[in-house]
Every structure is written in C-alpha cells, then in structure tokens.
C-alpha cells in the first residue's frame, strides 16, 4: 500500500506520521502557497496540485487522482474537511482502482444527509432529537407552521446538507417560522448548493458528547469512551475532552450500545463519530454522524492508547480489528485538546494569517502538539486558520487543565496573533474548571465580556510590556536625530530585521 494524503496542515502531518511508523510509503499533495508547509517534508514524495484556491487544488478530485497516478499511490487518506465526506470522491477513488481510507461511498451518502442519518438512527432504535424529516418544497406556509408547532419551541431550522452553523436559524414562535425557513433555505443553497432544511427541537442546557467508533470489513465495530465537545464558539468546537464529566458509567455503556447499533446497521467501516446531545437528566439524542477522522481524535488516543489513524490504515488493508472493547471504553486519566487558531480574540476572533517569525512549540510530560506550521511558514489566507492542536493528558481532569495551561503559556508564536489568551481565559473560568457548562456556555460568557480585551494586563505585566517595547525600539530604531544616540547608522538588530524581509 502506498498512501496519498489528500489534505494539508496538521492532519496531513498526523496521517503521514502514521505512515512513517507503519513503514507505509506516503505521498503529500500541496497547493502553491503550501510549497514550504511541514506536511510536504513529512512525506516520501510530494506533488503540486494547483493554485492556492482550494477549489482548484485540495478540492479538485481530478488533480488529486492525477497525483496518485503519477506517484503510483494505491490508497487515499482524505483527512478531515475538503473531500473527506464527499461520496463522489470516494466513488472516483474506487473507479480509479484506489483504496479510499474511510467508509464506503454509499455509507457516506446515507449518513451525510442529516435527515437520512436521523432516519437510520430511528430505524436502529437510537433516540434522536425531536424533529422532522426534510421539509419538502411543496409544503404550504400553514403546513410548515403546523409541523413547527408539533416539534415545539424553541427549535432550530437546519440545513440537511449543513455544517459549521450555516443554514441554521433559531425560532422561538410560530410567527417566525415562514420567514425563517425562507432565509435558511437561501443560505443553505448559497453555502451547500442544496436548499433542503428540516426542524429540530432546541434542547436547552444540553451538552455535546460524541462516540468514536472503528469498524472493520469483517463486521466488528468497537465503540470508544465518549468525548465531550460542549465548548463551542458559534457552533465550532474549541476545547474537547475525554472522558466527559457529565457521563456516568451507565450512560457511557448506553451511548456505546447506541453507537454500535447504528454503525452496525449501516455496515460502517473505518473511523467515524456519532454526535449526541446529552440533557441534564442523562438522556441522549443522536444528532449526526461524521464519516471520517475527527479533529479531536487525539483525546481518545490519549486516554485509550489506541492509534486511530494506524487502525484506519489497517482496516483499509482488510485486517481484522483487534482493539479490546473494554480497553476502548475504559479511559486512563483525562485528556483535553485546545484548537489553536491564528485569529485575534480582541477583534471578535477575526482570522489573523501571516508569517510566523518565531515559534516555540509546547512539549514535555503529558503534552502532545499536533502542528501544521513551522517557524518561517506563512499561514495562508485560503484555508482554515487552525495552526495546531495542543493535547494535555494527566491522571485527572484538574491535572490535565493545569498541564494545558502550562503548555499554552510556554507556546510562543511570534509574527501572528493567536487565540491562546482566550483559551487560557476559558481554562481558568470557574464554570469550566468545575465542569458546569453546556453548548451555549462559551458564546454566553464571551458575550458577557462585551468585547473586553483578552490582552488586559495586571500592572506588573504592563510595566514589562513597556520595558520590552522600549528596549525593542532602542535596539532596532534608535537612530533618529535628537534622541541622544551616538551610534552612526543602523544597529545590528535593525540590519537583521531588514534582512528578514529579503530572505525566504
């Protein structure tokens, strides 16, 4: 097997590392702006697949298959995002004689549409959030309102092809239903090329828990201890952990049973994740399934010792799954993951791409940093702005939080702004520390800050900033007349700074 990794950034590096460890030859692909990205050097071979715009490179099925042909790759790992849940891509791989490292194209299709996945869950006896099937276009306004009333308020209008909070509307009464459906349909059409929507009850105070599964080609499905991903900003996960403080052993067993029932019903193979909402009474409701490796898979690896990517590859080779189910469901210690984005928490988390001038990655006991960047690399404007995922493990949750704080404090990224200050703030928030939060927690506490800066410093640190700024200026620019400088011309620091602009 020779694996082409049809992705970039940290997940490409993650998969390529697994290839190295298994002795499997690997191929990276890269767009124009990723020529110097770390994943290029981690692979045995690397092929340029087009310009920086994803549609013409990482999203181009044709170019990726051509790269596989040129390098003799026999299998494709799609990572997450880009083409990872694209059934047409999985089919095209198969047609080209390539192993697609993921579930069958048919399964991607079944579980990809949200209402189809809900139906499969209901058929498998798995509870779903109260809601409807796809709302067909022929429904009258009155019929729409009647359906909404049946589901109950507040409810979400959701896009069938949705993701990332797009095509989603929160509705609190009948009066808003018709306009809401219209708005959600046009947003969904614009975002996903498909306007279909459905209703789903909004469960107040619910937490997001999810179950990782691995399925092999011999009918074995193994469920893993849950991950909790309730710390979300605008429906995007920010901090994940395993196990969840809200899950009892009984609920864990029931979640695992539900996950296996649904996975087995669709003959699921490879790695996949079933997402659930968990209410305050310990009831859970199936939300959707992600038919691919998940961003947050490392927290599961840390508490179970199972390498999920290596297993994806083994399963694709037809090997039987030998992961012990009891081990997979018994967490050892506690793991947290923080997604580190190149974005500025003080401007409402606007993306902040740019060149990384200085970098010190966190390391040491209990810390894993899955990174997609290096010093000197320019974080491109074209893709998701996540630069790395910091994972911390400790025997207990408090220890994992302390370790994560230590890791984020020693993580130094110069040249661009990152959301690390906001992550540190969340990690220190009393509700987070005590485990009392739901999926609305982060948006709520961010709103309470009313844009208050994450960069406010205690007095000593303000003084430190003043000193650093003065000394930096002293060394790099103190050649202005009238400022008491006796040196002629630029200092070594200034010369060095100028040079930085020249070199690549």
């Amino acid at each position: 097997m020779k694996i082409l990794v049809a992705n970039r950034g940290e997940i490409a590096v993650r998969v390529l590392r697994a290839c190295r460890e298994m002795g499997v030859p690997s191929v990276a692909v890269y767009s124009a702006c990723d020529r110097t990205a770390p994943h290029v050097g981690q692979a045995d071979a690397a092929v340029a697949i087009g310009p920086s715009v994803a549609a013409e490179s990482y999203l181009s099925i044709e170019r990726i298959l051509e790269a596989a042909r040129e390098t003799g790759a026999t299998a494709i790992h799609p990572g997450y995002g880009f083409l990872a849940e694209n059934a047409a891509f999985a089919r095209a791989c198969q047609a080209a004689g390539l192993v697609f490292i993921g579930p069958d194209a048919g399964v991607i299709e079944t579980m990809g549409g949200k209402t189809a996945a809900r139906r499969a869950a209901i058929d498998a006896g798995v509870p779903v959030v109260p809601g409807t099937e796809t709302l067909v276009d022929t429904l009258s306004d009155d019929e729409l309102c009647a359906r909404a009333d049946e589901v109950g308020y507040p409810l979400f209008i959701k896009a069938v092809a949705g993701g990332g909070g797009r095509g989603m509307r929160r509705i609190v009464d009948t009066a808003a239903v018709v306009a809401g459906v219209q708005a959600a349909r046009s947003e969904a059409a614009a975002a996903f090329g498909e306007s279909a929507v459905y209703f789903e009850r909004l469960l107040a105070g619910a937490r997001h828990v999810e179950v990782q599964v691995l399925g092999d080609t011999h009918g074995t499905v193994v469920p893993f201890v849950e991950r909790e991903c309730s710390i979300q900003r605008r429906h995007q996960k920010v901090i994940e952990e395993s196990p969840s403080v809200a899950v009892t052993p009984e609920v864990r067993a029931a979640l695992a049973e539900a996950a296996v029932a649904l996975s087995a019903a669709v003959d699921y193979t490879s790695a996949g994740t079933l997402e659930f909402l968990l209410d305050a009474d310990g009831h859970f409701f199936f939300l959707e399934m992600n038919t691919r490796l998940q961003v947050e898979h490392p927290v599961t690896e840390m508490v179970t010792g199972v390498d999920l990517v290596q297993w994806q590859i083994r399963i694709a080779r037809g090997e039987p799954l030998t992961v012990d189910r009891r081990q997979a469901l018994t967490p050892v210690g506690h793991a947290l993951e923080c997604r580190v984005y190149a974005e500025d928490p003080d401007t409402g988390f606007l993306p902040a791409p740019g060149r990384i001038t200085a970098l010190r990655d966190p390391s040491g006991p209990g810390v894993r940093n899955d990174s997609g960047v290096e010093a000197g690399f320019e974080v491109p404007v074209f893709y998701d702005s996540m630069i790395s995922k910091v994972v911390a493990w400790a025997p207990d949750r408090a220890g994992a939080i302390a370790r994560m704080r230590r890791a984020l404090t020693e993580y130094t990224v110069g040249g661009i702004t990152t959301a690390i200050p906001a992550l540190l703030w969340v990690l220190g928030h009393e509700a987070f520390v005590s485990g009392r939060f739901d999926t609305t927690f982060l948006d709520r506490v961010l709103a309470e800050r009313q844009g208050h800066s994450f960069s406010d410093l205690p007095a000593e640190e303000t003084d430190l900033a003043v000193m650093a700024a003065a000394l930096f200026a002293y060394f790099s620019g103190a050649d202005t007349p009238g400022r008491g400088v006796d040196g002629p011309g630029p200092t070594p620091w200034r010369r060095a700074a100028r040079l930085d602009g020249v070199r690549r």
């Binding site: 500025d344 401007t347 409402g348 606007l350 993306p351 902040a352 791409p353 740019g354 001038t357 200085a358 404007v381 074209f382 893709y383 998701d384 702005s385 404090t409 993580y411 130094t412 990224v413 110069g414 040249g415 702004t417 690390i420 200050p421 540190l424 994450f454 960069s455 406010d456 410093l457 000593e460 640190e461 303000t462 003084d463 430190l464 900033a465 003043v466 000193m467 650093a468 700024a469 003065a470 000394l471 930096f472 200026a473 002293y474 060394f475 790099s476 620019g477 103190a478 202005t480 007349p481 400022r483 008491g484 400088v485 006796d486 040196g487 200092t491 620091w493 060095a496 700074a497 930085d500």
Partner: protein, 187 residues
C-alpha cells in the same frame, strides 16, 4: 547586544494599553554572558533590567530590581512604530513614538479621524455603511472573507462615516484602509 552599550540615555514615548509614558533607557553595561543591563525609568518608576535577544523577535528580560522576574516577550513591528508584543500568553499592542513619527500620529489624532483597516487579507464581501452614516462603537462597517469565513470589521469609535475607501468584491491586504470614521473631539 554590544551595540547597546556605550550609548548615552535615550528617551522614548511608549504607549501601552492606551497610556503614554516617557521612558528613559540608560545602558548600564554588558553583564556576564549574553545579556545587557539597562536602567529604565518613567514617572516614579525605575527598573534594572537585563535583556537578551533569543531569536528573531523574542526578548528575554530579567528584572533584577524586582525579584529577578524572568519573562520572554515576543516583539515584532507591524508598522513603523507599531509593535505587537506577546507577554505571558497575551497579545499586547504598543506604540513607540519618536520625534518625527509623533507629529504624524498627533496630526491624525487631532483631526478626529479613525482610519479603519482590515486586520487580515482576503476579499471584501460587503461594505455595510455609506458616507454620512452615524455608527456606534462595535457596529459592523464591512465584511471581509478570509480562511473560509466571513468576518465583520467593527467600528473602533462612535462617529460619522466620512469616507469609504474600498469596494465590495475587491481583494484587500492586511492594513488596507476600508472606512474612515470621524469622531467628535473629547478633552
């Protein structure tokens, strides 16, 4: 670091967290190892500091007059006189004003204009205001798409939009001016 030693004291206007300080930087000399020692003073504050450059853009400061507190601070210049600092995991913006620069900055300030730039490169999707509009602090002025996401650029001040300098649909670089907001003068 030897370049710093031997100079006389230098005065710099340093603005951090909205407050300006006239900082006197006085080299005391090279110390053992790579460090250089300075006395920094402003208002009624005086510090003895040992400073070393670690790598491009990062300084190691040891404040010997304050319990030998040790800190690494990343520093880079985002525009002439504008610094971005990383202190204890936080991102701080600082401004160091010298004789020439300060005149320009002061001129801009006195005019009462807030020049709103895009903080990131991308595509300008929409402009949400027009000249003459009254805007509040935090009100969205324009939407820039970058990294697959639409991002609203908010007004830094309450005032009246005096200019719109970029057109929807165009590509923008970080620092490009989008909108100018004129504010009433205070003080």
């Amino acid at each position: 670091m030897a370049a710093g030693a031997g100079r006389g004291p230098v005065r710099l206007d340093v603005e951090v967290a909205g407050e300006r300080r006239l900082v006197t930087v006085e080299p005391v000399g090279l110390v053992e190892g790579d460090g250089s020692r300075f006395t920094l003073s402003w208002d009624d504050t005086t510090y003895e500091v040992d400073v070393s450059r670690l790598r491009s853009g990062a300084l190691s400061l040891i404040v010997s007059s304050a319990g030998y507190v040790s800190h690494e601070v990343t520093c880079y210049e985002t525009a002439p006189g504008e610094l971005a600092l990383g202190v204890g995991g936080r991102h701080i913006r600082a401004r160091v004003i010298d004789g020439r620069r300060s005149r320009t900055v002061e001129a801009a300030r006195e005019s009462g204009d807030h020049v709103v730039v895009t903080p990131m490169p991308g595509r300008l999707v929409r402009v949400l205001v027009a000249p003459g509009d009254t805007v509040q602090v935090g009100q969205g002025l324009a939407v820039v798409e970058a990294m697959k996401m639409e991002n609203e650029v908010a007004s830094p001040a309450a005032g009246v939009v005096s200019e719109v300098r970029a057109a929807a649909g165009s590509s923008v670089k970080a620092g490009d001016v989008l909108v100018v907001v004129r504010v009433e003068r205070h003080d």
